[in-house]
Amino acid sequence: MKKNLLQRIIIIALVTLAALWVVIGPRHKPAAKDFTLAGLNDTLRQNIHLGLDLRGGSHLVMQVQVPDYLKRVTENVANGVQTVARDAGYNVKSVRPEINGNSYRVVLEAEDNSKIQEMREQLPNKVNDLGSNVWQSSASGNTVTWEMLDRAKDELGTRATKDALKIIDTRINAIGVAEPTLQEHGAANSHQILLQMPGMSDPERVKKLIGEQSRLELMKVVGPNNPAPIQTYPTEEAAIASLGGKVPQNRRVIPYDERNEPTTAGEQPAPKPGEPKSWIVVESPAIVDGSELRSADAVQASPTGGDEGYHINFTLKPTGAQKFGTWTGQNVGAYMAVVLNDRARSAPFIKSQITDSGQITGNFSKDSANDLALTLRSGALPAKLVYLEERTVGPSLGQDSIRAGVTACLVGLFLVILTMVVYYRWSGINAVVALLLNTILTLAGLIIFDATLTLPGIAGILLGIGMAVDSNVLIFERIREEMHGGKTVPAAIDTGFARAFVTIIDTHVTTIISSLFLFVFGTGPIRGFAVTLVLGLVANLFTAVFVSRTIFMWELSRKQKRVGASGITLSI
């Protein structure tokens, strides 16, 4: 008994000290100032990760528009099929993407049906993304149809989400967002991305930067070569009319911002609504596109240009440079459009072969040129993103919430302690010790598991305290009952703990089960609540049963020395 008691006290002391160290111990070599009240407060704030609702910041949930991505994949594959089939000398009449609701198809129509089977078998080997794991092919008459498989849609969606995550990561890192959290969010195949930025109270610039679709394409302009001037049309209709009233698969009509056009200060790189001065017809697909970019940098056009007058210089990757070099070599004198987001920024003619570098001109401001260069470097987002949730909490609002939560906790704790001490007298103090230790252990658990304390999390701590009180009440009531039944104090304590223990296990396990469901399947506030509640319950199994029992044992052994085993009384 004696030895047993000593062991228990040592275990409790060690656990308490360890938990205290975890909670208020500094994570660096301790200095004297760490032990002042302000120092302890600082360490506490460093140790506990506060959620955005408490420390302020912004929380964005976005969703990758998968249909947008599937559409683009289908179009790219159709382009690829066309190019590869023509290069291989097949007699192809047309290749077109057919998108209808949730069905994505590429339809190849040949002049005759002689090589249909051969095309059906050979083309997938040569075209990216035309594998049989994505498409199901069928042939009839002189057409081959590839239809996208349903399971491939999910896989492609996941790929698009992962790509988008990488790109967003590059972009937000480049502008120096502190401690961002960026992860997939929601159910599987919901294609959602969560971005949390502590301390950011106006996420407009970040949102704009993330959403920026900087797609760069270098395209050949249709029309006579230099020295004739570039072929432009005053309206979109005129440009289409020049193509015979219908834009064929291998042409595109795009607006053209003529060079040397006076631009307003601080012009944005994104396409602006409003009529452009003229339109041009370009050959599709592009000679090279943004995926072949190696670097893009904002440079000042002239040293005296002030804040405006920035250009973007870019260089190409080896594969792109090779394609570009070959093309420019063969097309000296032709006009080439630098197309950014479906709008031609400039259309110089090719003076001589160029291999790997180019320039996007236009009077960019310093910031817009930097952002544009960044979005070009990080690559195009695979698909459009829409924002499903935006929550921002200013730091003052967060401070108020902490104050409110902590006040509620302290008042609640005070009321509970008061009632326990009045109702159970000295044994109530026993419960109070267990309660305080429980709170410390819960916080320590929070730190050890690197979990985040949110406002609902504070509510979870409060509920955990409630359950802890319940365990003590169960035990005390049972001890009283056993004493009424005529048992001696040591026997009553033994039976009381043993009987109450069964109930405590049952109640705790049920609550832990339901909290685990919340933790695993819940998100955001629900999860924050579940974490602290589970930690509190687990801590309680230790404090209510083990610690409380030890205090009783210690009290008994003290009294036993004075009055002997039979005359012990208990203040309960």
Binding site: L415, V422, G466, L474, S514
Partner: protein, 361 residues
């Protein structure tokens, strides 16, 4: 010693008809509120769903000098926001919550986006009529009125519906988990009775939220889940006692054992519930605007969670257990076998004896 409920001896199960009538009345009131609100044209919705579940925008603005709610509403009206709800924050003189209803959606994905992008911008533009906008960390200027946006919450309609469905699914899953655990530890009738009692508590709490139109948001769901845990916790304490007493007093009927068990645990029930009630009351009073829904739901839930363990879970369990015994006896008698259920048959010797027992008191 100081003790409230010593040697209580009440026939709880004798009042079961009254209890069930009371619960049904409250539940029907809640149901009536939800249905009529839903059915009445131009009336409110069954529940006052927050933007977490319905989609919408809440902008929290802090003014140097807060204009009146009417002024802000008129200003927002003139910029084309049809039905803003302006809610001044009670404990902070400058702050005001501006709730925008769900913006018209044209059934495409862009509506989701416009909800989130447009809300804050529109409010900012409208509020500049009252003064200049300053950064959230900047002090107000010395002269003239000014405001800052201290928080925004914007949720698209589709995301809101997804959160709502997720919350319901999670709650149901948690209930199944609880049912299985109790069935494993006790009998499945005990588990079923506990789960029915939990449904009762959740429905009544939701009824209150419909009647008084408190806002239902994500934190309320967290509260309902807590309530599920608390209610089951309370029920298990009683059931645990019943199981223990059944082992010790094999000759008593289930009816008597249940009454005794409720009486024996009454003291604990009142003290625990009272203490939790006190801490939640502290949350209602001091927990701030964000936790208001959470603490209100818990406050109601605790009262009914405690009540249902005694008034709903126990009578249902006894009634069900007796039905099973009766069925078992009817089957067992013709076959002439007395199987393992014999001991339990004695314990639940039927209601006639129990009533006589109660009358004798």
């Amino acid at each position: 010693m100081f003790q409230l409920f010593h040697k209580v001896n009440l026939d709880w199960l004798g009042y079961r008809k009254f209890f069930i009538l009371l619960s049904t009345t409250i539940m029907l009131a809640g149901l009536a509120s939800a249905l009529t609100r839903h059915a009445l044209p131009g009336g409110t919705e069954a529940f006052n769903l927050g933007i977490d579940f319905k989609g919408g925008t809440v902008v929290t603005a802090d003014f140097k000098q807060r204009p009146s709610a009417e002024e802000i509403r008129d200003r927002l009206h003139s910029t084309g926001i049809s039905d803003p709800i302006i809610q001044p924050v009670t404990d902070k003189p400058g702050e005001v919550l501006i709730r925008l209803p769900k913006l018209e959606s044209d059934e495409n994905a862009n509506a989701e986006e416009s909800q989130v992008v447009v809300g804050r911008k529109k409010v900012e533009d409208a509020l500049t009529a009252f003064g200049t906008e300053v950064g959230v960390n900047d002090p107000f200027p010395g002269e003239g009125n000014a405001f800052k946006i201290v928080g925004t919450d914007a949720v698209g309609a589709v995301a809101g519906a997804a959160l709502r469905n997720q919350a319901v699914a999670v709650t149901l899953l948690a209930l199944v988990g609880i049912l299985l655990y109790i069935a494993f530890r006790f009998e499945w009738t005990y588990g079923a009775a506990a789960v029915i009692a939990v449904f009762h508590d959740v429905l009544i709490t939701l009824g209150f939220f419909s009647i008084f139109q408190f806002e239902v948001n994500l934190t309320v769901i967290a509260a309902l889940l807590t309530l599920v845990g608390f209610s089951v916790n309370d029920t298990i304490v009683v059931f645990d006692r019943i199981r223990e007493n059944l082992r010790m007093h094999r000759r008593s009927t289930l009816y008597d054992v249940t009454n005794d068990s409720i009486n024996q645990t009454l003291s604990r029930t009142i003290i625990t519930s009272g203490l939790v009630f006190l801490s939640v009351l502290a949350m209602v009073l001091f927990g701030g605007e964000v936790l208001r829904g959470f603490s209100l739901a818990l406050l109601i839930g605790i009262v009914f969670g405690t009540y249902s363990s005694i008034a709903i879970a126990s009578p249902i369990m006894v009634w069900w257990q007796q039905r099973i015994e009766a069925g078992g006896r009817a089957q067992a008698a013709p076959a002439g076998t007395r199987g393992g259920g014999g001991a339990r048959q004695r314990q639940t010797s039927g209601q006639g004896g129990a009533k006589a027992n109660a009358a004798a008191r």
